[in-house]
Symmetry: C2
Subunit: 484 residues, 2 copies
C-alpha cells in the first residue's frame, strides 16, 4: 500500500470536493446510509461475529450510524454551521475607508480516522468521525480496527460505492489496514491535516505526540475515555436506593462495560454506603458474565483488577468469577475517600464492568475530590433539589472537570443530536474544545478564512449578499437570515 499515492489522491479529491454544495454533500452522505441499510443483514452478521456483541445491540448501532449520517446531512442542508460572518465595507469611514470582510469555515484537508474496537459501526468505518469529516468537506483515510477487519472492509466498500454512485473522485475515501506502524505512518504523512481517534489513553496520547512532532503539527482529536464518576447524595439516594443501584449496575454492565462513558467510579455517603453496596451487589448477581470484544481486552481487564488487588486500601465486594478467555464478569471494590484522594492510581480507567465505590465522610470531602479529579467525558450528580441548592461550589468545580454533566439517568447511551457534547478536559480527550458525537463534531475539520474585498461573483454562496442558502449569518454583529 503506497501511502503517497493514497494521500495524493485524497488531496486531489479534496480540491474539488471542498467546493461541492452542502446539499450535494448531503446527498452523498445519505447515499452512504442507503447502501448501509441495503446491506444491513450482511453487516450485522459480520459485526456480531467479529465483536461478540449481541445482534440487538449491533442492529441498534447500525441504526445509530445511519441516524448520525442523517443528522450531518440535515446540518449540511440547513447550512448555517459555516458561521458566516460579514462586516460590509464602509467606503465613507474616516480616516480610512473600511474594507468588506467576510468570514466562514472551510474544510481543512485530508483527515486520518482510526476505527474504535468498541463500536464496530458507530465509531468505525462509517462512524461519527468519518462522516463528520466528509460532511465538513474533507477526504478520509480510514484505518480499520484489527478487531473487526471484515466488517470494516465491507462498510468501507459501501462508502466507496456511494462515492462512485455520487460521481465523486475515489480519493474521497480510502480504507487502509494495518497495525501500530501503519497508524503512525498515516499520522506522519505530510498531506494529513487532522486525526480522529477513539480508544485507549496510551494509543491516543502516542498519536497526539507524533502529530505534534511533525514538521507541520496537526490537531489530534483523540477521545480516550474516562471513569465517568457518579456523585450520590444522601437524600436522593435514600429515597431511590434500589432503583438507583439497579440503574447504576445496568449502565456499568452494558456492553460488558466497554463504553467510553461507562460509570466506573461512584461516590457514596458513608451513612448509606452499606445499604447501597448491598443493593449494587444484589443487582450484580443478576448480571452474568458477558463476552468482551476480544481476548486482549478481557486479559487487560483481569490484569488491571489484579493490579488493584495488590492495594490494601481496597475492600473487594465482588471479584470477577473464574477468568474466562473472553467472557468476563463484573467486579466491585470499595475505598475510603481519603485513600482515593491520596493516589492518582485510583483514577485510572479499568476498561470493563469494574466499579470503584468511594465512601465519603461529608460534603467537604467531595470538594477535595472534585479538585483532585482528572478530566472526564461525563460526571453524573444524583441529588435532590435541596442537595443541589446546598452544593453550588461542588457543581461549579465539577463543571470544570467534564464535557457533560448529568442530573438524572446514567452516562451511557450518548444521544446523537445537535446539543450533545462528547469530549472533555484532558486526559479524557486531547482537545476539550471539541466533540466527537453530535452536530458540532463537524467543526473539528474546518477552519475559518476571511475574504477581503472579494468580487461578488467569486464569493461562496454562504457569503453572497443575497444569502441564497437562507442561512443564519452574523452581519455587522447581528444574527440574521436577511439579505444584506
Amino acid at each position: 500500500m503506497n501511502l503517497d499515492l493514497i494521500f495524493s489522491a485524497a488531496q486531489e479529491a479534496f480540491l474539488s470536493y471542498k467546493n461541492l454544495s452542502g446539499s450535494k454533500k448531503a446527498d452523498f452522505l445519505e447515499k452512504i446510509a442507503e447502501i448501509l441499510e441495503e446491506n444491513r443483514s450482511a453487516i450485522v452478521m459480520m459485526a456480531v461475529k467479529e465483536s461478540n456483541l449481541p445482534e440487538g445491540r449491533i442492529n441498534g448501532e447500525l441504526g445509530r450510524t445511519t441516524g448520525q449520517i442523517k443528522l450531518f446531512a440535515n446540518q449540511l442542508r440547513e447550512g448555517s454551521w459555516v458561521e458566516a460572518t460579514i462586516d460590509p465595507a464602509d467606503p465613507t469611514r474616516t480616516p480610512l475607508p473600511k474594507a468588506d470582510i467576510r468570514r466562514m469555515l472551510i474544510p481543512i484537508g485530508p483527515v486520518v480516522v482510526f476505527g474504535a474496537s468498541n463500536f464496530p459501526l458507530a465509531f468505525s468505518t462509517a462512524g461519527g468521525d468519518t462522516i463528520s469529516a466528509l460532511a465538513a468537506g474533507c477526504p478520509v483515510i480510514y484505518k480499520g480496527h484489527p478487531a473487526h477487519p471484515d466488517t470494516s472492509k465491507f462498510v468501507g466498500d459501501c462508502i466507496s460505492q456511494a462515492v462512485k454512485k455520487s460521481g465523486l473522485p475515489d480519493g474521497i475515501f480510502t480504507h487502509v489496514e494495518g497495525g501500530v506502524k501503519m497508524g503512525q505512518d498515516l499520522v506522519k504523512h505530510p498531506v494529513a491535516k487532522a486525526v480522529a481517534f477513539t480508544g485507549s489513553y496510551g494509543a491516543g496520547k502516542s498519536l497526539f505526540n507524533i502529530a505534534n512532532d511533525r514538521d507541520e503539527p496537526i490537531p489530534v482529536y483523540a477521545e480516550m475515555g474516562s471513569v465517568n464518576p457518579v456523585f450520590t447524595f444522601p437524600q436522593r439516594l435514600a429515597n431511590e436506593l434500589v432503583p438507583l443501584a439497579q440503574s447504576y449496575v445496568s449502565s456499568l454492565t452494558l456492553g460488558a462495560g466497554q463504553f467510553c462513558t461507562n460509570p466506573g467510579l461512584i461516590f457514596v455517603p458513608k451513612e448509606l454506603a452499606g445499604r447501597f453496596e448491598n443493593a449494587v451487589a444484589e443487582a450484580l448477581q443478576g448480571a452474568a458474565g458477558s463476552p468482551m470484544l476480544h481476548e486482549g481486552i478481557a486479559s487487560s481487564y483481569y490484569s488491571a483488577i489484579d493490579n488493584l488487588k495488590t492495594r490494601s486500601e481496597l475492600n473487594w465486594v465482588k471479584v470477577p468469577d473464574a477468568q474466562h478467555l473472553i467472557n468476563v464478569s463484573p467486579a466491585l471494590a470499595e475505598i475510603k475517600a481519603a485513600d482515593w484522594i491520596a493516589d492518582d492510581l485510583f483514577q485510572q480507567e479499568v476498561f470493563g464492568s469494574f466499579a470503584l465505590m468511594v465512601v465519603y465522610e461529608n460534603e467537604a470531602q467531595l470538594i477535595e475530590v472534585a479538585k483532585k479529579l482528572h478530566g472526564q467525558l461525563t460526571i453524573t450528580i444524583w441529588a435532590d433539589s435541596s442537595e443541589l441548592k446546598a452544593n453550588p461550589e461542588l457543581i461549579n468545580l465539577l463543571e470544570e472537570k467534564c464535557g457533560r454533566l448529568l442530573f438524572t439517568g446514567v452516562p451511557t447511551g450518548v444521544e446523537v443530536g445537535y446539543a450533545m457534547q462528547h469530549g472533555g478536559p484532558f486526559p479524557s480527550t486531547t482537545s476539550a474544545n471539541s466533540t466527537s458525537v453530535g452536530a458540532h463534531a463537524i467543526k473539528r475539520f474546518a477552519r475559518p478564512i476571511a475574504f477581503q474585498d472579494m468580487p461578488a461573483d467569486l464569493l461562496p454562496d454562504a457569503l453572497k449578499d443575497g444569502n441564497p442558502l437562507g442561512i443564519t449569518r452574523q452581519v455587522n454583529g447581528k444574527f440574521t437570515v436577511e439579505k444584506i
Copy 2:
C-alpha cells in the same frame, strides 16, 4: 515572584468570575478602556519612548486597543457567542425516552498571555489576547514584553484598577515580568489552561512544544507571522502599475516593516517585472530609514539580509543603507520563480521592510508556487476580473494556504471586527482554526459543556427555556431567538 500563589489566586478568581453575567463582564472591560483613556497621554508618552514608534501611530494604537475592548464588550452584551444549543427532552420517544440536553461554551480557566514587541498596546498588556480571554471569563497571567517594561507595567496597573473598581477579585489579572525562563515556567504551570502568544516562530514553536510536553497538554495560540505573499497579474498590474507599486511600498515600510501582515513576498509576471521593479525602487527612495523597536530586532534584520546575500539566486535591487543601530532602511531583492520554488529558505520571514520579488514565467508556474507555499496569515491577489475568472485553480489552492485572502488593498491594517480572521495554517500560527483578532478570538478560551436534565433553576441564563438574554440559539437544530 511565587507562581504558585499567582496561579492559585487566578484559579480562585476564576471560579467566581466564570459565572459573572455577560453584561457585568462587559462593564468591567469598558472600565479598563475608560481608565486607559484617562491615562492616554502618560501611556502614549511611555510607549513612544520604549518602542521608537511615532506618536501618531501609538495614539492610533491606543484607539485600536480601546476599540477592541468595546467590540468584546458589545459581543458579551449581545451574548450569542456561547453557541447555546438545546435539544429538549422527548419523554414519549420510543424505545427510549429522550433526555433534555443543552450545550454552551464556558471559559477554560487561567490563561497565560505573552506581550508582543511590535504592538506595545494592541497586542500587549490590554491587547486582544488579554481582553478576549477576560471576555471569555478567564483570568489572565500576563508576561510583559521586555522591550517596553514601563508601558506594560503601567497598563497592567490600569487593568488592576479596573478589577478593583469593578469589585472583582485581584487574581483576575496579574502582571508578571521576566525573560525566557519565566515564560517557560508560566506555560509549565499546572493551573494554566491555555497560552496566547504573538511573536517569532522560534519562540512560539518552543512554547507550543513545552505546552504539549506537560502532563496535561494545553492549547497554545501562537501567531508567529508570515511573509504574506502578493500575487500580481499582468493586466491589473499594467493598468495600475505605479499606484500598486506605491501601495505595496507603503505597506512594506509601514512601522519599519514590523507587522505580522507585512507583505515580504511579491510575485510579478516576467513581462512587467522590470517596470514594476523600477516603480517599487522609486517609491522606496522616498521611504527613509525608520527606527525599529529595539537594537536586537534591527540586528536580526541585518543578519537575515546578510544571510540572503550569500545566495547567488538573488539579484539585489536595493540593499539597506549603512547599518544603523536601530534606524534601518528597506531592502529589495529579485529572484526567479524556479529558484524560489527550489529552496524553502526563500520562504523565511525577514522581520522588517525587506521585499523579495519573485519573477514568474507564466500562470502554470504560480500553481507550482501555490503548492509549495507555506501557511500564511494573508495572501493578496492583484488581478482584474478576467484574470480572476481565468485562474480558479490558483485561487482554490491559495485558500488552502492562508487565513485571509485579499483582492484589493494591502494586508497591513488589520480591521478589528466580527468577521476578521487573523490566523492561518502552520507555520503562521500553531492553531489554524482560531483567530487572534476580531470577535471570534474569544472562542480560543472557551470549551463546550452539555448539561443533561439539569433542573431549570440551575440552568445558566443562556440555556433557560425563557431565553432571558434574548440570544440566538439553536433549538432542535433551528436557529432562533424564541423561547422554548
